[in-house]
Symmetry: C2
Subunit: 189 residues, 2 copies
């Protein structure tokens, strides 16, 4: 998606060899109109898949998932990190290791918001090692729901998570795929 | 806002005397079209205030803030809970105690996303004791920005946070104000 690649080149900041900061428009400050464009592009790519619900994980995935849900006219569910006091009863959960934060968190969805009758599209902002995506896929499988694939805003291909999950049969649509990067230089696939 | 009150009566679940679960449409599962209505209502109430940026805190505030930002055509910034590895350099921060989770968290905004030239509208899903809102107000003051007020989806008036902050001069617009509640019964103000 050219609009996204242009934005990454204009505003993205590479820190070290693995972290791309896109805080100015995607995951700290959000450009609402641009976010809607991302949502419409995912909706276009997954049109006709029969999606009944969009699944993401807090916090950075929420805005994009909302845009997708709006474009597809379906509800959005966001998995919560760790179990809150107000979230009791039956839940699906998966442990996710974050390489950025160097810690494991539990992602949790209340069981009644994912059911065997659902057809799920997973949405997230980044795909790197694939840990978060793998956790979300696990939640869908626990619910016995159908999974049509995953829509990712930025895939860092060199961290291999996408390749591994595609090899297992998951359809992944990335709007920007980064082949390599270093401070000041970003190469798209 | 009648549409919101109807939804709360139809789907809200009161747990004990202080917790209202609206997981089915507001803060776990999200109804995208309904969220847009909430955003448009806040935009209507704060029209002409010269808002340049919407500020919220992750995670439940993000969807509503995005809807407001879209309706007002301004960027959204969400404060993060605790400092992430990728968030370095100058930040504004405030400690917030959550009565629901019984713990204090730090909410943080990178300094360059809130500036003295900004006119800020704060958006959040709930107002109870007012701790989160007070933290967000502190971030705005730290930045030297102008604050036009706060838009809250559900105010639990009996927990007094709103009254206290209004007494300090803050304009607060709540779309639903709950005077009292117990399991099975919700009284709006």
């Amino acid at each position: 998606m050219q609009e996204l690649r242009d934005r990454i080149l204009a505003e993205g900041v590479v820190v070290g060899s693995e972290v791309l900061k896109v805080d100015s428009f995607l995951n700290h400050q959000i450009d609402p109109a641009f976010t809607m464009h991302l949502g419409q592009e995912f909706a276009r790519r997954f049109a006709g898949s029969g999606v009944t619900k969009v699944l993401t994980v807090e916090a950075s995935g929420i805005a994009i998932a909302l845009a997708v849900g709006l474009a597809l006219s379906v509800p959005v569910v966001f998995a919560k990190k760790k179990q809150a006091l107000t979230q009791q009863g039956d839940c699906y959960s998966a442990e996710v290791f974050s390489f950025t934060r160097r810690e494991a968190t539990l992602i949790v969805v209340t069981a009644r918001y994912l059911s065997a009758g659902d057809t799920i599209l997973i949405i997230d902002d980044f795909l790197a090692h694939g840990e978060a995506l793998r956790g979300l896929v696990s939640l869908v499988h626990q619910a016995g729901a159908k999974l049509v694939g995953a829509g990712i805003v930025i895939e860092k291909c060199f961290q291999r998570g996408g390749d591994n999950l595609r090899a297992e049969g998951l359809r992944i649509e990335s709007l920007a795929a980064i082949e390599s990067m270093e401070p000041g230089v970003i190469h798209f696939a």
